[in-house]
Amino acid sequence: MKRSFGRLLLLAVLLVFPWVLKDAYYQHLMILVLMWVAIGSGWNLISGYTGQVLFGAASFFGIGAYTAALLLHKLDISAWWGLPLGGVAAVLLAFPFGWICFRLRGPYFALATLALNEILRNIATVWESLTEGMVGILVMQSFVSKIPYYYIALGLAVLSIVLVDVVMKSRWGYYFVSIREDQDAAESLGIDTRYFKMVSLCLSALLIGLAGGLYTNYMGFIDPKVVFSLHDISIMAILVGIVGGVSTVYGPAIGAFIMVAVQEVFRTGGFGLLPALGKTTGWPFMTTLARYVSEVHVLSFGILVVAVILYLPNGIVGDWSSIRRALIFWRRKAA
């Protein structure tokens, strides 16, 4: 009962958020967070729960994004159709890919997803007649205010969480985890591992592709470097998953919040703190530091990956008991 109350409260807060905080900047950040909740949940399904780690999530994101963009650009159909169709397109990509690559175990599957990511990015860059290449595609935004986008993103995020929750309590969920823990044992217990790996991948692709479709409509502009980005999409998706906690329903939500915050801290030099300090103190060191900090967000990602894997491998939600123990230990020491 207590848990449901907490969740309803959270939902209520999220629902009124854009009316309480009218600053477009924070609304933008929350939209990003919600988008990443969806991507992270999708990633978590195939990587965390089913154990087939996705290193190239941007493949599905980019396909979703381009579907939306191309619908408008080439067929003059509203890019909003790209939202559901982007998800469908991602699934259509996942199907043959999984069919071919699921015979690869473990790390080789992960590599294959990386290769897919690179191949798609190359194709999008080179096939200029279709995608305008590096120039990118511009999409007219339907709304000036961020609020409609916020609620659509919220809907997507809620859909993702609910979907993962329902699936993992069902037969599929049990099968996914069985496959992750030991594929051979799972087969011996009658589980068609190839089929269920496919199911898991398609579900993941769906969520990630939907997020891609949303992205195009929200940002109004996409190009191969952005939507097929290895660092800003694929690695970010992994971080969202592992920071929050793989194989937990709410892990990606927490991970999304933290990772977007981290990204912003670096992009703005501590939310503008460092440049402001630079101005007030007049120390050139501060301004240079601010500049460097905003350029090193990829470095921070790398360090985060290393640190999280070493010290918090099951994420905040997964390793929560050890975190609590550590906090209690520090509090006792201070006392």
Binding site: S47, G48, G51, V53, F55, I100, C101, R103, L104, R105, G106, P107, Y108, A110, L111, A112, A115, E118, I119, N122, V126, R180, H231, I235, I238, I242, V246, S247, Y292, E295, V296, V298, L299, F301, G302, I303, L304, V305, V306, I309, L310, P313, N314, G318
Partner: protein
Amino acid sequence: MEVFLQTLVAGILKGGLYALIGLGMTLIMGVMGIINLAHGQLMMVAMYVTFVLFHYLGIDPYITLLISMPSLFLLGVLIQKFLLNPLMKVESILPENQVLMTVGIGMVLTEIARFIFSSNYLSVKTSYSSAAIFVGGISFSVALTIAFIFACTLTGILFWFLIKTDLGRSIRAVSQDGEAAQLMGINAERIKVATMGIGSALVAAAGTLLLPIYYLFPDIGGPFTRRAFVITILGGLGSTVGAIFGGLTLGLAEAFSSTYMGMEFEDMVGLVIFVLVLLFLPGGLKSLTKV
């Protein structure tokens, strides 16, 4: 015909260097069972070391080999000891921890390089960088040829090491059956550290040798990592002989596609080979499916 032979030569020479890259990675793969996605980035570090020594101290790259190889050996050892070995004791749900860790390491190395050197394209222009000798009407790039000779020598030393020395044999033992090797008293952890060091040293050599005829920028690691695992998968995981053939194949493929289709396809060639191997390679794939 001349163009064909020219391309053939270029491909083989480059392939020899690629074999060095692949050898390092396949050793690591065979012994540790992990794919080192920071392999190209290690090469990048070696290339920057070579650049700095050349630019500020005027040391010739071939002599820098004596510095870059040990330094990267050390770096590899440190990485294995403090970042990768501890992972085996960590109880994590996510299976591909180690590979992911190497991705993180690769990112950190790249960004630190960018921080120090910025994204500018750098190069090392030695006296022989653009020199070429002509044999039978075909031009052999001097730098590339010398690099090829070095690569062959290093490969030879590596094989001698693996077959004749105790450490080398221990490495092969761990590569074939880690548990059995441990039961025989081999300290698997130390072997893994040594192997990472050797693999890093090999790719460092490739980097140093390649710098005179290449250009250097922080993001150069990525494409080379990709080449490394294409070579390794093509040749068969853990197979040192395979890595040599894989390297030569990739070198030739890149050379021919560059000549007959255009330079922008060089990157794609590796990816295409990777896909083809995935789809069609019988023997290689079989060993992938029951890992």
